[in-house]
Symmetry: C2
Subunit: 184 residues, 2 copies
Amino acid sequence: MTMRKHSAEPRNASLKILEAARAIAAREGAGKITIEAVAKEAGLSKGGVLYNFPTKKALLSGLLDQMLAAHRESLAKVPERQPARTLRGHLETVLQSQDLDDDLSMAILAAAASDPRLLDPLRTELTCDLERILSDAKGSPDAMIAVLAIQGLRFQMLLNLPDGGADIREGVIERLRTIIDELE
Amino acid sequence: MTMRKHSAEPRNASLKILEAARAIAAREGAGKITIEAVAKEAGLSKGGVLYNFPTKKALLSGLLDQMLAAHRESLAKVPERQPARTLRGHLETVLQSQDLDDDLSMAILAAAASDPRLLDPLRTELTCDLERILSDAKGSPDAMIAVLAIQGLRFQMLLNLPDGGADIREGVIERLRTIIDELE
DNA sequence: GGAACTTAACCGACCGGACGGTACAGAGAT
DNA sequence: ATCTCTGTACCGTCCGGTCGGTTAAGTTCC
């Protein structure tokens, strides 16, 4: 029998832990992610966290994996036939994380601060995406401008940098969409 | 006489300390900025560092101040009569930091990780800049796109994210310049 | 069925090291 | 002598990681 073990919650503990880590990062900053804090937030003990993630690096790496998975999923949602498909997906991913209060992007900061090499999987993923985007756009610099603007948007939200107000932001998003539309 | 005390180097020790902090951040990541490490890198002892910066917060804050000062200086270099002057300055600041191996931007990460509130001065500065940029551009969304792209560029370099190669980057820079030129 | 054992999941005390900060003594210059 | 700066020893705390339990569920054998 593959019964769900004896856990009160059927949900995997690892997910709860990652969620807790994101919540802490969003609430108190990436630097406040400690194993004890995560344990408390997730409602179990330090030992429990370390049972699921043998090291803190593994935890942060798990956060990043989760982020990449969400990103990929978001990419997959873009209709097949769209031109500049990957680029559209990038934009949607960022817009989607806009109103998420447990922002996944915070994992980037946490990882970068503790060990920059944790970003390697992110880098390879982005390299792959970028290649596709650039080949889709046939070398138009506007594609790269769009990529950069989207990245800028992400960090702006992440660090609470000024965004010029809601109307400006909407104007930017609209403009980005037309840039992407005109790429083909 | 404002002789520089008895130090072997006439340069202010604070500068050396900040430089050391930047070097460490660039080499090993923002999280590795510790007082001892900075002291060793700067060639003095922990006490020496703490004499110049009474707390670590003060050190990080100093890093950020230095970054903002450099940014302001870079802005001031843009000829008075240029349209979209502030925006041009932003671009130049980023391009300038491109080949600096002790990247100032790393301070942003260090600060954000340890205490997000350290970014407040940066936020107010950017808010001010952004206001000027947007009023210069008279509401054109392209101005904000450019701002975001520049920000994206900064973080791309900071985190060693893929950039599509040198020619792409140059194409982007050129494109950014024409976007800015067309703003007026 | 039930005793004996294994395994999964988790707890929490503890350790060692790192790190921020303090105290204080001493060295130079004036 | 005094003021300014620097070195060093030290303290308390925090944090990552280890480890020996403990509990409950599953498995095996009779």
